[in-house]
């Protein structure tokens, strides 16, 4: 096992412990385990950074080219963004919704390497300076919308309980609807510019690599659809006063579309963004 994979596994283990501890705090009425959970998550994040660094040294390009690498980078971005939000909002329950996402991404990544993936052949496209710019913006955007997705689910759960007047143990742990809605809005104001920059830098990269900004391959098409979706939500929030339930549902569907354009397009459809073609096979 190469060193970066070992670091990856340690990261996964720490994220897993953090997730379990966050879930314990949320489901048990009086246990406070989120303090330790945060330490585990921060520790895992340090290992994750190291794993990415050593992967970079090993493969010789920004390690976001294979499916495994992308999943790992997505999880890294998600944890980074969660940590930022957690510093501001201090919500254990948000951790209980976001961290499982990171763990699932990491687990899928792990399954991919166990399935056997060799390091890539050198590919001149991956040496472009636009490549890291593109993936960083794109995945940070994804991660911010991942947080919005989690907040959206939390909003719907809480709203359901308040309307039906039946409260589960989770009710007492959830923040107010107002806080959840403001997370939705914050995510939108940060996520949308990141996503826009991701698409623009991707187009510039495509132009330098293939000599054309836009080729309408399935991934580009899906990214554009998702971008319009979030644009609609942003517009609705700012000018029509969309908020609450509608905004939450929009964020949930938007993230589902994002995940589809990230994974589904690669697995189901064919195009320049599939990892196969990136590897130059």
């Amino acid at each position: 096992m190469s060193f970066n994979i070992l670091l990856f596994n340690v990261t996964l283990l720490l994220y897993l412990i953090a997730t379990i501890l966050f879930l314990v705090e949320v489901s048990a009425r009086h246990l406070k385990t989120s303090g330790v959970a945060r330490w585990m998550l921060w520790g895992g994040f340090v290992f994750h950074c190291a794993a990415l660094f050593f992967r970079y040294i090993e493969v010789g390009h920004t390690p976001v080219a294979s499916l495994y690498e992308s999943l790992s980078f997505f999880a890294w971005a998600l944890v980074a963004i969660f940590i930022l939000f957690d510093l501001r909002y201090r919500l254990a329950v948000l951790g209980a919704f976001v961290c499982p996402l990171a763990v699932i991404l990491m687990l899928v990544g792990s399954a991919v390497i166990i399935g056997g993936v060799e390091p890539q052949q050198a590919n001149p496209m991956l040496q472009s300076k636009w490549f890291p710019v593109h993936v960083t913006f794109a995945f940070l955007g994804h991660a911010v919308f991942g947080v919005a997705f989690a907040a959206g689910i939390m909003y719907l759960l809480q709203e359901r309980m308040l309307k039906s007047k039946r409260f589960s143990a989770l009710y007492y742990k959830l923040p107010s609807l107002d806080v959840l809605d403001s997370i939705n809005y914050k995510c939108l104001t940060f996520g949308f510019p990141l996503m826009t920059l991701g698409i623009i830098s991707g187009a510039v990269w495509a132009n330098s690599a293939w000599g054309g900004y836009w080729r309408w391959d399935p991934k580009e098409t899906w990214a554009l659809i998702t971008w319009f979706w979030y644009a609609a939500l942003l517009h609705g929030r700012l000018s029509i006063g969309w908020r609450g339930r509608r905004a939450a549902i929009f964020a949930i569907i938007g993230f589902a579309a994002l995940v589809f354009s990230f994974l589904g397009v690669n697995l189901l459809l064919d195009g320049a963004h599939t990892f196969k073609s990136l590897r130059g096979e």
């Binding site: 009086h30 309307k163 923040p175 107010s176 609807l177 107002d178 006063g241 908020r243 509608r246």
Partner: protein, 439 residues
């Protein structure tokens, strides 16, 4: 020494009885001193709140003391002897300890988990300390009761979540709006519960109150009281868009607000959420209003449902608290046992013997290495005689004191003097202050 409790509470006596035996907080010195003057009583504390009147005492003759305490309670208040018998309960030993721990932890309160009782007991203890009617045992006992109460409060959720309709409404509003600061309340109609809820909202940060009533003068009066603004009843729908929280309790026979109007208002508010609290019976607001997006409507039954759920939760927590109390009773019992004379004498003897043994063995190992068995026996006898002589006076003293009120402090002193598993030092009263109580 035995700990005793005699008293009555909301569970055993109606208010008509409780008010007759209450002690005025301004005049505690006389009853406390009279209590201490009773022949069988060694230490005493009086706890008197609107829900309970209890005497805590220590005594060597528990049976005699209990009847003296009962008589005191009637005689002091000029009641016929025996007239309180069916209201009074009495406990001694472990049961008394359990009772006081439960009272201090608010497990015996009318509303389980209410925070006042601990403060009231602290005050009562304060009087006993001031007039020096609490001694070694009650001092430690009450401090222990305070720390048990604090433990119960921090380790269980016994005081969590609202158990009144008005406060439940405030908690729900917080779940919707986060902070209540800057929010506006509209009171429609007047009613005690409505006003109480409004007051709760103001105490929790609501900045503006609007009042409307079919009789405009009443609206004006109430608005003055809340430093708010009166609105003519027929106009109130036009003001709804500025309102976040609506409290209604009119005597109207039909709904005064339906989903259509509320939908319009929400649109006007750009979907900012609204919380309707309908305390009127018959209801003022069409229940279909709850189906409007971003609107939450609670009627009296809904709020009472929330309160009932919270109370149930408190009762669940109370079970956990009983476990904590049992643990603490065991610990306190162990300390109490160290105050007994006989085990103290045994401990004292073995402490001395331990020292003698060690010193003799040391000498036999070195300076007197080569002496014969006969001499050895002499040395043993000599040293044993010395400690027996030394111990004679203190042991006789302890035995004589056995039936005296000062025994506990003597035993305590002997244990401390000779370092016989000393009880832990007592905490300061201020250290036990409970921030939750000042909520």
């Amino acid at each position: 020494m035995n700990i005793l409790v005699v008293g009555l509470s909301h569970k055993t006596a109606p208010v008509a009885v409780r008010e007759r035996v209450a002690f005025a907080p301004t005049a505690m010195e006389r009853p406390l001193h009279e209590l201490l003057a009773l022949p069988a009583i060694s230490e005493a504390i009086i706890v008197s709140t609107c829900n309970r009147v209890e005497l805590y005492a220590t005594s060597r003759e528990p049976e005699a003391a209990l009847s003296q305490l009962r008589r005191f309670l009637t005689a002091y208040h000029g009641l016929e002897a025996g007239s309180l018998d069916e209201n009074l309960y009495e406990y001694q030993g472990e049961e008394a300890i359990r009772h006081v721990f439960r009272v201090a932890s608010s497990l015996d309160s009318m509303v389980i988990g209410e925070p006042q009782i601990l403060g009231q007991i602290k005050t009562s203890y304060g009087y006993a300390a001031e007039f020096k009617t609490a001694g070694l045992i009650l001092n430690r006992f009450l401090h222990k009761a305070f720390s048990v109460a604090k433990r119960v409060r921090t380790e269980t959720a016994i005081a969590g979540n609202a158990v009144s309709v008005a406060f439940a409404a405030v908690e729900l509003a917080r779940k919707i709006f986060g902070t209540l600061e800057g929010k506006t309340v509209l009171l429609i109609g007047a009613g005690e519960m409505c006003e109480l809820a409004a007051r709760h909202f103001i105490n929790n940060g609501v900045s503006q109150v609007h009042v409307t009533n079919r009789t405009f003068e009443r609206a004006v009066k109430l608005a003055e009281e809340f430093k708010g603004r009166a609105i003519a009843f027929d106009d109130f729908p036009d003001h709804l868009h500025q309102i976040d929280i609506v409290l209604t309790s009119t005597g109207a026979p039909t709904f005064i607000l339906g989903p259509k109007k509320v939908e319009e208002v929400i649109k006007q508010r750009k979907n900012k959420p609204m919380f309707f609290i309908d305390i009127a019976v018959p209801r003022d607001i069409d229940p279909r209003v709850n189906d409007v997006d971003n609107v939450y409507l609670y009627d009296v039954d809904d709020l009472q449902g929330v309160v009932a759920a919270n109370l149930k939760e408190r009762h669940k927590e109370a079970k956990k608290a009983e476990g904590i109390i049992e643990e603490e009773i065991t610990a306190f019992d162990r300390w109490l046992a160290t105050l007994d004379v006989v085990p103290t004498i045994v401990a004292l003897r073995s402490r001395f013997e331990e020292i003698r043994r060690a010193e003799v063995d040391k000498t036999f190992g070195a300076a007197l290495k080569n002496i014969g068995d006969k001499e050895r026996r002499s040395v043993e006898a000599l040293t044993a005689a010395i400690i027996n002589k030394l111990l004679h006076a203190p042991i006789t003293f302890l035995k004589q004191e056995q039936n005296d009120d000062s025994t506990d402090s003597s035993v305590h002193a002997v244990r401390t003097l000779f370092n016989l598993e000393p009880p832990k030092p007592e905490g300061k009263l201020e250290d036990l202050d409970d921030s939750a109580e000042n909520r």
